[in-house]
């Protein structure tokens, strides 16, 4: 080995000693994903070996030296059928298996804890229900299903945690979700994998998986004092949503208590489940999402609330299980500094213009 350049030799040693060939498996999903991955690799290797063996074998057996005169063979329906049907069968197996995994990754369990992630050039902002904000990092407890609700404030981003085998695009103007359950405490890479402009390669961070007690400790010391729902409540008040959405008999808007997750009938006749996506749309494009029995009088908040603001409102509405709270906010509205969150007059186009659509409400 002495004749190998010391540099290369050093690299080889370093590589073989401390550089992995396969990413760590740190989520419940990872082993399932890897099983499929290994199956695919196995099939490919077998296929490749067959092709290489045949090519090499034929090249030796039928080289011009050994086999001066070619024997013309037209073809063989049987053989061709074989290598049409066998690959097709294998591919279909892969399709089904892959589809099952895909189902799993994008259908979160009901009991999953929800963390909101907002992507923007060039950082990830995570919003925990407890009001903890973090940038370019994400703290999650081990052994608990975590659902991420992703949205982008500007361009396409993609939230990727290789160790968990999950990845999902954060899309401007639409929620996407993905979930995972971390199994091994530790720190893992968090990448933005969708090219998003100049500092794309700096839009990285760490996912910290903690034992439940560490996690509880972290929650305690990194809280911002107010929970997301409380921020939402303030916003709800300052935008005086309670003016209509109070459960009074003469209320001009539907009551929002326990609305989350319920089935709504729209004035258009269709029915929808009031999930995050629907509530977001109902705030930003109300006239397309009018609940039956109410007039389309709600103004749009497009361009007046930041994505964080919308998220806070969602959290508030989610936790709103009695109209009592609303009545309270209604009465406390005037106590709040009116300036806060008072939005630009509805219809001001500039607010809605492209990148300018940053919210003015910072809870």
């Amino acid at each position: 080995m002495s004749h190998i350049s010391p540099v290369i030799w050093q690299f080889l040693v370093k590589w073989l000693t401390n550089s992995a060939l396969f990413p760590p498996e740190a989520s419940r999903l990872a082993p399932q994903m890897d099983a499929l991955l290994f199956f695919l690799i196995l099939v490919s290797l077998i296929g490749l070996t067959i092709v290489v063996l045949l090519v090499v074998g034929f090249s030796i057996l039928y080289s011009k030296k050994r086999h001066p005169v070619a024997v013309q063979v037209e073809g063989s329906t049987l053989l061709e059928a074989t290598w049409t049907i066998i690959p097709l069968g294998l591919f279909l197996v892969m399709f089904v298996w892959g589809a099952l995994i895909y189902f799993r990754v994008f259908t979160p369990p009901a009991n999953a804890m929800n963390i909101y992630v907002v992507g923007k050039q060039w950082m990830w902002k995570a919003e925990h229900p407890g009001g903890q904000h973090e940038i370019n990092s994400l703290h999650v407890p081990v052994g608990k299903a975590v659902q991420l609700t992703l949205i982008s404030q500007d361009v396409f981003h993609s939230f990727s945690i290789p160790a968990f085998r999950v990845k999902r695009e954060a899309i401007p103007g639409r929620y996407t979700t993905v979930w995972f359950e971390a199994t091994v405490p530790g720190t893992y890479h968090l990448f933005c994998t969708q090219y998003c402009g100049t500092n794309h390669s700096q839009m990285i961070g760490d996912v910290v998986v903690m034992t439940p007690e560490d996690y509880r400790k972290w929650l305690a010391e990194s809280t911002s004092g107010m929970s997301l729902a409380q921020n939402g409540e303030r916003l709800f008040a300052s935008l005086s949503c309670a003016a209509c959405h109070n459960a009074r008999p003469d209320a001009r808007g539907p009551s929002l208590a326990n609305v989350y997750g319920s089935k709504l009938t729209l004035s258009s006749g269709g029915t929808v489940t009031a999930d995050d996506a629907y509530l977001r749309e109902a705030i930003l494009n109300p006239s397309q999402h009018v609940t039956q029995g109410f007039a389309p009088i709600m103004p749009t908040y497009q361009g007046q609330i930041s994505e964080e603001g919308v998220i806070a409102l969602l959290e508030y509405i989610k936790n709103l299980n009695s109209d009592y709270r609303v009545q309270q906010t209604l009465t406390t509205t005037d106590l709040l500094p009116g300036s806060e969150g008072k939005a630009a007059p509805a219809g001001s186009k500039s607010a809605a213009q492209g990148p300018a659509a940053q919210g003015k409400v910072k809870p």
């Binding site: 930003l284 494009n285 109300p286 006239s287 397309q288 389309p296 709600m298 103004p299 749009t300 497009q302 509805a346 219809g347 186009k349 809605a352």
Partner: protein, 254 residues
Amino acid sequence: MPDSTAIAQGAPDTAGSTHGEHPPYLRHHFNSAEQQADASNFAMWLFLLTEVMFFGGLFTAYLIYRNWYYAAFVAGSHQLNVVWGTLNTLVLILSSFTMAMGVWCAETRRRRGLVLCLALTLILGLGFLGIKTIEYSEKIEKHHVPGAHYSLQSFLDPDSDDAARAAGDKPLPLDMARHTEVYFSLYFAMTGMHALHMIIGIGILGFMIFRARAGAYTAGHVTFVENFGLYWHFVDIIWIYLFALLYLISRHGT
């Protein structure tokens, strides 16, 4: 449409005069005039295929957003002037007819008739563009051109707008009103692309009239006229759909 000019193997002066027995317009690499005609005709059809896919993208976008923002699309279409639109449709159909007649004249070697038909087609084409200009200028006055100066006035307050009042529009909620910009984006993209094709076509028409008077297409070699006819009819077809989809979404009270 640069390729139809390139397809024209018509010019007698560029004839493969080496083959004496062949007609003068036969290019050297073809074996018979019929093969040449078939080839260029087929090529023209393939080019129209690409045109179909080109507009296909626009129609896809149109269908998606029409489903999403139907109210906005209705209000937007009420801003278009049906009278002008219908007139334009008639003009274009008529020009298609004169073009077809032109092809017939060429095939039956009527030089005068051909020149006349082409001239009529040209005039009608220009008429179409003229009317389109009037329509566009209306839009510009009303600030219905998408972009920084786009105005929602006619949709938030229909009574202030004759067209909207005439159509009996109700005011749109702000969020829906904003989506009319998508409608007008598509309106200008689609009619603009169509108008561009018209302009190119008119340019070629002028060139053809010039050549036709010299009798270039009435000496038995009519491929170019026929191919251009195909192009012109195709542009006509596109308009038939644009008219139905952009102007006539819903004219009865909503």
